[in-house]
Amino acid sequence: MKSRHIKAQITSFCFILPALTVLALLLLYPVVTSVFYSFTSKHLIKADYEFVFFKNYIAVLTDPDFWTSFLTNIKWTITSLFFQIVVGFLAALAVDRIRKGKSFFRTILIIPWAFPSIVIALSWKWILNGVSGFLPNILVKMGIVDTVPQFLSSANLAFPVLVMINVWFGAPLIMVNVLSALQTVPRDQYEAAQVDGASPLQSFLHITLPHIRIVMGLLIVLRTIWIFNSFDMIYLITGGGPAGLTQTVPIYAYNVGWGLKMLGRSSAVTVLLLIFLLMVCMLYFRILNKWEKEA
């Protein structure tokens, strides 16, 4: 009887074994390797390397370029997240409110979500192109500006334009998730509030927000990480330029690893990045846990 029980346990375990193997080999092991290489002089092409202790970390932490990238990264994350949430949240409220065309707007508004990063980059570069781009030329034609603006190569415009493209891409995800969270709010509470004479704003603050704040909190955690880590979009649209103005930490890490060919030092950068994200997430999860207990 006992051996049969053990056998049953083993078959149950076989179901999750492949998934655990993937997690261990493709996520845990590489992270450990990264930490290891961050203490070595590993080169992209040369085979031999040696142990250098904290040399990579010291080199990174004393590089003003790293700190500039870090600040740019924080600016990039906060502004992108803020506008994604504002635009996406309002879109969700609007779709929730209207009666006709709900699924039409939903379907059209999620288009950016499906875009591969390279197509995001190429299409926006073409739309914003400083010679034959649609937007710069239409702005001139409408008399809003005198000369064709150089959206992606001008020092003042490149960063905000990049953030706008990121909002274009990320707002749909916020909208869809908020929309499905809104469905979980019981309608009769709104009706009761209306009978009691509550204003729409009061209903929103006292019924809607408390109901969806946990989903919102989690969304913010996930989006923060994603935006902080985003590599493709920046790399493909500006490559960190002009003059390093849009260089974030992942781009910096790529340039160190594949530009300077110093994989060891690049590992040190990415390990620092991970440590920072872990700290941010711990803070977030502490707040979320508190909310869950209150709910």
Partner: protein, 281 residues
């Protein structure tokens, strides 16, 4: 009178909602529309007046160049192969895993979901360094199988996350009945559970396919010949050419983005919201 109608909604707010949504819809759809319009314009028209919206003459010359001169069909083939293999393997692993978590290890499962969220935190650029070293060691550099293996790293956690939600909807009573009839665990899984969650699995599979089809960074780092390049990297290399031909680039972009958009529209209702919902449960 329907219950919903009890809620009074002012016309003003509704009008504002429509105006806002129409504006957003135009912005959201514009790049796709512009890609399609530019792809069928001639070189002269593209260089002429950039603010003219519709092409005067529709030409498929750009698409001909994409497929005949640039051999883009080969890259499409690579991407289909890689994305399809990734999807099949990832869904097999994740369906077993998600079911195992829901049915056999619910307590451990809750912890595992937290771990999955943590893997979300790993910067892709952090994984890129060890992947390039490890793949080099195993001779899987510039190899499409190597790429499929690496793609498991994001597709499996994502798929498990979404699938757990679908498996939770299967009533345990049905499974117990089958067990009493003498079916073993694997048979119950195949013959009873899978058919019930099939629509969910198809949606997750399509989502996995789109993500693999769209992937850029790992493909950039692990594949270094144009013969084996995926569509994303092949598109990037078009931009590196001396004379930029935007018509050709938009035609190639259309080939890459259209399948993603169509597939995504088909499954969005099923996937949408699953992300947040699955994690809260």
């Amino acid at each position: 009178m329907g219950k919903k109608k009890l809620l009074r909604r002012g016309w003003f707010g509704t009008t504002i909602s429509y105006i806002y949504l129409t504006l957003l819809a135009i912005i959201a759809a514009f790049p796709l529309v512009w890609i399609l319009l530019s792809s069928v314009k001639s070189k002269a028209e593209l260089a002429g007046d950039p603010t003219v919206f519709f092409p005067k003459h529709i030409t498929f010359e750009n698409f001909r160049i994409v497929f005949e001169q640039l051999n883009f069909g080969r890259n499409v083939g690579n991407s289909v192969l890689v994305a399809l293999s990734t999807t099949l393997v990832a869904i097999a692993i994740s369906a077993l895993g998600a079911y195992g978590i829901v049915r056999f290890f619910p307590k451990f499962g809750r912890k595992l979901t937290r771990v999955l969220i943590t893997t979300y935190m790993f910067p892709p650029i952090l994984l890129a360094v060890p992947y390039s070293i490890i793949m080099g060691k195993f001779g899987l550099m510039n190899n499409r199988i190597g790429l499929v293996i690496v793609y498991m790293s994001f597709s499996v956690p994502y798929a498990i996350w979404l699938l757990v939600g679908f498996f939770q909807t299967v009533p345990i009573g049905i499974e117990e009945a089958a067990r009493i009839d003498g079916a073993n665990k694997l048979q119950v899984f195949y013959q009873v559970v899978l058919p019930i969650v099939a629509p969910g699995i198809v949606a997750v599979a399509i989502y996995t396919f789109i993500n693999a089809w769209n992937e850029f960074l790992y493909s950039l780092i692990l594949i270094n010949s144009s013969e084996k390049a995926t569509v994303a990297v092949a598109l990037k290399s078009l931009e590196g050419q001396e004379v930029l031909d935007w018509g050709v680039m938009m035609a190639a972009s259309a080939v890459v983005v259209i399948p993603s958009v169509i597939f995504f529209m088909l499954i969005q209702k099923k996937i949408a919201g699953g992300l947040a919902a699955g994690a809260v449960k």
